[in-house]
């Protein structure tokens, strides 16, 4: 009923349109196609179906690539962009395990316990990250933790070397070898982490940010150097 009324009311309005015709000499050309989704470049492939081995290998390769970046520090942003904390965790746990078995005449005088090393590394890294962010740094929290954790790698290598040298003997010569190795690795760690972190700081505060990193690796180096097996 309403439609009939509407059309009735619209009738006189559109009456003239019935006479409009398109002249035949205006070509009407074109193509009407609807791009039906072929979705050819498969960017977000589902990782649910791949074998577990692929998943693990991909993460391991990322970790390994970061290890290589730390040992040969160039100014690349791979370490910063795709941060992960697997590497720091593995390094921290292995360093803390290797520092076990220190001399323990009495509990009070021995070397650091596992929990102490763990806390020092993680708490130290968090404090340094907070410090650099409070000073106006542009790096994100986890990126900084990632870099500081990965740069413990040279010191872990130093710890391994120290333990091997201590197996051979613990005289003066072994101490000198250990001292040289630890000092070299401490310098390497500090330079590697500074290469990655110093750029994200305002230029007149670089020294303020680098000094805590220096202190952090110095403390870890001291723990490694003073390790004496029982």
């Amino acid at each position: 009923m309403a439609a009939a009324e509407g059309s009735g009311a619209a009738g006189p309005l559109f009456a003239g349109l019935a006479d409009v015709s398109i002249s035949e000499d205006i070509p009407v050309e074109g193509e009407i196609t609807v791009p039906v989704g072929s979705r050819s470049p498969d960017e977000d492939y589902s990782t649910l179906d791949e074998p577990v081995r692929d998943t693990i290998m991909r993460d391991l390769k990322a970790v390994g690539k970061k290890f290589v970046h730390v040992m040969y520090p160039k100014k690349s942003s791979a370490l910063l962009r795709d941060w992960d904390l697997w590497g720091p965790l593995v390094l921290c746990v292995s360093l803390a395990l290797m520092l076990q078995g220190g001399s323990a005449d009495s509990k009070d005088d021995g070397g650091p316990q596992f929990a102490e090393v763990f806390v020092i590394i993680w708490f130290g890294a968090v404090v340094i990250t907070l410090n650099s962010k409070l000073l106006g740094g542009t790096i994100s929290f986890f990126q900084s933790l990632c870099v500081l954790g990965y740069c413990v790698l040279p010191l872990t290598v130093a710890m391994l070397v120290c333990r091997l040298v201590l197996l051979a003997g613990s005289g003066t010569i072994s101490f000198i070898i250990r001292l040289i190795v630890v000092v070299a690795m401490f310098g390497w760690s500090t330079l590697a982490s500074t290469a990655f972190l110093a750029d994200s700081q305002p230029p007149n505060r670089k020294a303020l940010v680098v000094y805590p990193i220096f202190l952090f690796y110095f403390v870890i180096s001291w723990m490694i150097l003073t390790f004496t097996p029982q």
Binding site: G102, S103, K107, D108, G110, G111, R205, L208, P212, L215
Partner: protein
């Protein structure tokens, strides 16, 4: 009927001149946390007290104080609020350290260097460095002292790091808290010229601990006389920084209370130094009795723990 002269704009004299003309006039001074009234406090006194102004450093710090008064407006639960406490550049931190090591007699550390921009970077990292320096130096010194002895087995003594950390951080934060509370309480009773904010006191204490870092390194030298001379020297330097900072704050108070406050500050500072020397550094002369006793104590402890 007002004359033309009365209606003309009159320039009022400086408050000091007005007060000099009429010394018994009552004066009102508004004690606000902002820095500006403090300068007026200085000027409302008799003009003869020039050393106050020097001690307060009011001559050239007006502009910076006015400008600095506009910060710290972020609420305390945001990150930006805490960033205002780290608003220092490298050269500023180095200047403040230099000011704490070479105290200029008559210059107030807070007014001269901090200038209402207290930072937490200096106190925190100086304390951290001091903790590890004392622990490492103590360990090295003990190693060198007991080096030739056959019964000596080197121990890293890592537990002492946590003890050092607790002591030094407690000193650097709790003593300023107590001192600040005390100054606020006295301020409510007696109108003082200067009052410091809590962070400025923490700043002074933190930077005054810097001199102990090279002192702790030099304490490795196993001579008692050298160690005590070094300690006296560093105590004088850092103690003088503290005294020159806090003397203007308590000077107007009751004479005995002022002296007692300053005396307590110096005493606590000395206690820290002596305690660190005694606990972390073995005495160089007591050789064999000291090396026997720890083993004895060690065995008893182990037996009791079972």
């Amino acid at each position: 009927m007002a004359t033309v002269d009365d209606l003309k704009f009159q320039e009022f004299d400086d408050a000091a001149n007005l007060l000099a003309a009429n010394p018994d006039a009552t004066t009102i001074s508004i004690d606000e946390p902002a820095e500006i009234p403090k300068n007026q406090h200085g000027r409302l006194q008799e003009p003869g007290r020039e050393e106050d102004d020097e001690l307060l450093g009011t001559d050239d710090s007006d502009k910076t104080e006015l400008l600095a008064g506009q910060k710290k407006s972020a609420p305390f639960w945001t990150f930006e609020y805490y960033q205002t406490f780290f608003d220092v550049d490298t050269y500023q931190v180095l200047d403040r350290i230099k000011g704490s090591v070479f105290p200029v007699p008559g210059k107030n550390f807070v007014r001269l260097y901090i200038r209402s921009n207290p930072d937490l970077y200096g106190p925190f990292w100086i304390c951290a460095t001091l903790v590890f320096t004392i622990a490492v130096s103590g360990n090295l010194s003990n190693f060198f002292i007991h080096l030739g002895k056959p019964t000596y087995h080197y121990v890293p003594e890592f537990r002492k790091v946590s003890i050092a950390a607790t002591t030094i951080y407690a000193y650097a934060w709790l003593v300023p808290l107590a001192l600040w509370g005390f100054l606020v309480w006295r301020n409510s009773k007696v109108m003082n010229i200067v009052s410091y904010s809590f962070l400025e006191i923490v700043c002074v204490y933190g930077y005054s601990l810097f001199i102990y870092i090279p002192t702790a390194i030099l304490w490795i030298i196993p001579q008692n006389m050298v160690r005590w001379v070094l300690m006296m020297f560093s105590l004088c330097l850092s103690g003088s920084v503290l005294v020159m900072t806090f003397w203007p704050a308590v000077r107007d108070d009751n004479r005995r209370i002022a002296l007692a406050t300053v005396g307590t500050i110096v005493l606590l500072h000395a206690l820290l130094a002596v305690g660190c020397l005694a606990y972390f550094f073995d005495a160089p002369e007591l050789d064999f009795p000291a090396s026997i006793n720890p083993d004895h104590n060690g065995t008893t402890v182990i037996i009791e723990s079972w």
